[in-house]
Symmetry: C2
């Protein structure tokens, strides 16, 4: 029994993780959770060729997202959280996949000093970024995929993963100029589905769309263009890829031409296009329908 | 020609507004734009019975939203903006509805001192909150309405208005415990559609749903409940009201029972419910389809 929590008499189940109490915010064992909001040192930045100050980590925030990290292809290598969240997470912490992994238990105040702000959700899990999956790999058994170009907002990326998971999309392909799906904010907004829905970055954009075409995907370019066919007339194929672009500019003309058909969401007059994650959700819904 | 902008030689069209240059951030003429992020003094808080520090104003932010305020039922009584935005807004500023209304022109630095932060969008418009519309009034000619309960997030409210406008919803009814649709953030996220799509607050909730029922609306309670019918089987009525609740708890049981039919969005297994604005968008889309 850890001496610093003598008042917690409730028995925990047999945990696979090793609980380690942290009283000193400067303890180097929790360095992977340090300064999460730092512009240039935050640990969840990718490690880029030529070196970068990121550590190439992925941070899961809150009980639900931490559970999903443990259930995902990502290998969780540490937790940091308050005792209350340790208890809420306990059923997950009995999983063999986290055997021997440290759960650093700290007070809310110590945790705030480590991460650099008060973290409402009270628990974090961390994994290293795994070897990226390839496009051919993530589409192999997929029936419906989303392809993103220029979606450079972490919140939109997160919402697209959440919508993809809820509406039965099997994989996400990143074309050019997209934000990082493994940034903490993306992962949080996705409710952890960025860790569960397989994704790949196109090495060559948009020519990697040929990988989808060779596998008989119908590539649907989403556009507000009135000359495009309505979404409902576009989705009836064995395999479908929905290609969406950034809010405002939309898909590049090159990407648009690389698609097989242009489809639009019927919109009321005098309105703008929808938010990109909402437009994607409507496409996913029409497909599942 | 205002002396403080001698380098701007481009001619402006004949404006209906009166351009007034502001050099002193303390000028009382711009008090309606002051301290926009203040927790307790921000001018866009409603005036509540018993008094409140709000001024009961509505703030439109950016060229597009300011244009929509001018086009709306709200009476714009002042603008504050940098010269560049004055020029972008000029076509709107010739409108008879803003005849004699002051456009307070300031530098970005003076404007930042007035509003309390640097405002990227560079222009604001302000109106007084008009007399609220009633439920019977906003549904009179409507075919499709959204009814919200417990939606207490300004961003979600804004997104719902944006989606309602884009997908042909005629009015929004606020049931209990919703956030303010006229808060600056709601208006901004709505792209100004919170000013254009008519809305009303139910004085009695949920019994005011009877006002809809008397007008032959089918009231559809949205729920993730697997026992509910699929959305696509629920929307085929002359008049339809989609009732949505807060993310997490969803609709209260009382509200749910006050509906005519329960409908669900078919979801993939092992996922959570969708974001409330996304769920509403799917319902609106299914209706428009």
């Amino acid at each position: 029994m850890p001496g610093s929590h003598p008042s917690r008499a409730d028995a925990l189940p047999d945990l696979a993780v090793t609980v380690v109490d942290i009283d000193d915010p400067g303890d180097p064992r929790v360095d992977d959770f340090r300064d999460l909001n730092s512009v240039d040192r935050r640990p969840d930045l990718p490690i880029l060729p030529g070196g970068s100050p990121g550590k190439g980590l992925v941070i899961a925030e809150g009980v639900l997202v931490a559970e999903r990290m443990v259930a995902s292809r990502f290998t969780t290598h540490a937790f940091l959280g308050v005792d209350k969240r340790l208890r809420e997470l306990a059923p997950t912490l009995t999983d063999a996949s986290v055997s021997g992994v440290p759960f650093y238990r700290a007070s809310a105040a110590v945790m705030a000093e480590i991460v650099g702000f008060h973290l409402n959700r009270g628990v974090l899990a961390v994994a290293r970024r795994p070897v990226p999956l390839g496009v051919a790999e993530v589409i192999e058994t997929a029936r419906t995929v989303a392809v993103l170009e220029g979606v450079n907002d972490h919140e939109n990326i997160g919402s697209i993963f959440r919508n993809a998971a809820g509406l039965g999309v099997d994989a996400v392909i990143f074309g050019g100029a997209c934000a990082d799906p493994l940034y903490r904010r993306s992962v949080r907004v996705s409710m952890g589905h960025a860790l569960l829905v397989p994704f790949a970055h196109a090495a060559n954009w948009p020519s990697d769309l040929d990988i989808l075409r060779e596998k008989d995907f119908r590539i649907i370019s989403m556009t507000p263009d009135a000359a495009a066919i309505p979404l409902s007339e576009a989705v009836d194929a064995e395999r479908v890829a929905f290609m969406v672009g950034a809010e405002g500019p939309g898909l590049s003309e090159t990407a648009m031409r690389a698609g097989d058909v242009r489809a639009r969401i019927p919109m009321a007059r005098g309105t703008d296009s929808l938010n990109v994650a909402t437009a994607a959700a409507l496409a996913f819904y029409e497909r599942a329908r």
